[in-house]
């Protein structure tokens, strides 16, 4: 059992309709790209949930964690002027 080979892990992203974003669905195991795409189809789109699939080797994904979040996203905290509501418009201004 020690040398039992269960294949590398892949992450699956699916676009559910034309023009929409590719969203993460979960992961699977496959020996290569083709098998990963076919397994993703069988595993995540048995009820027509997708029209296009991306698969990415799990080891290629870099991610932040909740522990780092406070520091990591800190630069955005004091820049409220990036949102439209920050600005005061003269009374009666229309279409703006």
């Amino acid at each position: 059992m020690k040398n039992d080979n269960q294949f590398p892990q892949w992450e699956v992203f699916i676009q559910t309709k034309n023009g929409g974003p590719f969203e993460h669905q979960g992961s699977l195991h496959a020996a290569d790209k083709k098998m990963a795409l076919q397994n993703a189809r069988d595993l995540y789109t048995r009820r027509n949930e997708g029209r296009s699939i991306w698969v990415v080797p799990t080891e290629c994904i870099a991610a932040t964690t909740a522990d780092d979040a406070a520091d990591f996203f800190d630069p955005a905290n004091d820049k409220i002027y990036r949102t439209p509501n920050f600005y005061k418009m003269p009374q009666g201004t229309k279409n703006l």
């Binding site: 080979n5 294949f7 195991h29 290569d32 790209k33 048995r46 909740a66």
Partner: protein, 315 residues
């Protein structure tokens, strides 16, 4: 931060209703409890294919065969979602399968009962999937996101499992006397094991307290079991079946159906490996797992031989 402070902060996140992502800090015991539960759930889906596979080649019509095949395929899928969720705790699938084979990891005891007649395909869908849906709808609110996401997907897919099972039983109840007897016999055999699926009473359950504190589960075993009983008793009566329990009665004050005490000796005996099919289920899994090794080895060798493949693939 000390471990104690981290744990306090973790509990605050849980209490505030936050979800835990795989890369977040979590207490060792939370990880262990979840790993045990998710891997056991995954094994249950995979082993659960066997009792139904038993009837695949004997399904009474092409329609019935296609439905059963689709249901079994869903179960393979559910097992795979769950293995992936369990793997996020750093234990790979090879190890999980080894734990299943050695008996270190359990699976739901319900699958250690045999499927003797076609009516059992109905009873499994209606009762076993029905009980699983009650449990899984609750688990969809689990604090660990990967378990919760898998549950949401599984519940969506299992809607048809329960309905197709009830359809089989209802059709038999509309049939000949022999068919009605077969349906009743099937309910007689599956009723109590289905109630056992929710696990021991809250007072006897070793993991319940921590699981509730961490919001791994948000409702107790007894609450879920009662919900299942209330739904199922009425579904049984609706098609003329009798619940095999002489003490069954409706309590007008609590508005719940009351049942006999479950035979917990049998429950623990099956958990410990003495059910009618424990040996058969595991030896079947070991046999086909080993038989498939050459296929996995070939696929890996093939990939190695053409590593510089183009990224665009036409299928």
């Amino acid at each position: 931060m000390t471990e104690e402070e981290k744990e306090k902060q973790f509990q605050q996140r849980i209490d505030a209703g936050e979800k835990i992502e795989p890369r977040d800090w979590m207490p060792e015991a939370y990880k262990q409890t979840l790993f045990r539960q998710i891997s056991q759930h995954a094994h249950s889906e995979i082993i659960g294919m066997q009792p139904e596979g038993n009837w695949l080649l004997r399904a009474p019509s092409l329609r019935a065969k296609k439905i059963l095949l689709a249901k079994i395929q869903d179960e393979a899928g559910h097992g795979l979602y769950l293995y992936s969720a369990a793997e996020t705790f750093g234990i790979d699938r090879t190890e999980m399968i080894a734990m299943l084979h050695s008996g270190k990891a359990k699976y739901s005891s319900i699958f250690n009962y045999p499927t003797l007649t076609w009516a059992d395909m109905g009873a499994i869908g209606w009762l076993v999937d029905g009980a699983a849906i009650v449990n899984q709808t609750m688990l969809a609110k689990c604090s660990y996101v990967l378990y919760s996401r898998a549950m949401i997907r599984i519940c969506k897919e299992e809607g048809f499992h329960q309905r197709q099972g009830y359809e089989i039983i209802a059709k038999m109840m509309n049939g000949t006397t022999a068919q009605r007897n077969m349906a009743q016999d099937s309910l007689n055999r599956w009723w109590e094991p289905s109630l056992m699926m929710f696990g021991p009473h809250d007072s006897e359950s070793t993991h319940s307290k921590d699981s509730m504190k961490w919001k791994i589960k948000v409702e107790s075993n007894d609450t879920l079991r009662q919900r299942f009983i209330d739904r199922t008793v009425e579904q049984a009566h609706h098609i003329g079946l009798t619940i095999p329990d002489k003490n069954l009665k409706y309590n007008k004050t609590t508005m719940h159906w009351e049942t006999s005490e479950i035979n917990w000796d049998e429950f623990w005996s099956v958990v410990k490996g003495n059910g009618p099919c424990n040996y058969q289920r595991i030896s079947h899994h070991i046999h086909y797992h080993n038989e498939g090794k050459w296929v996995r080895d070939c696929a890996t060798a093939f990939e190695k031989s053409r590593e510089k493949e183009n990224s665009s693939i036409s299928i």
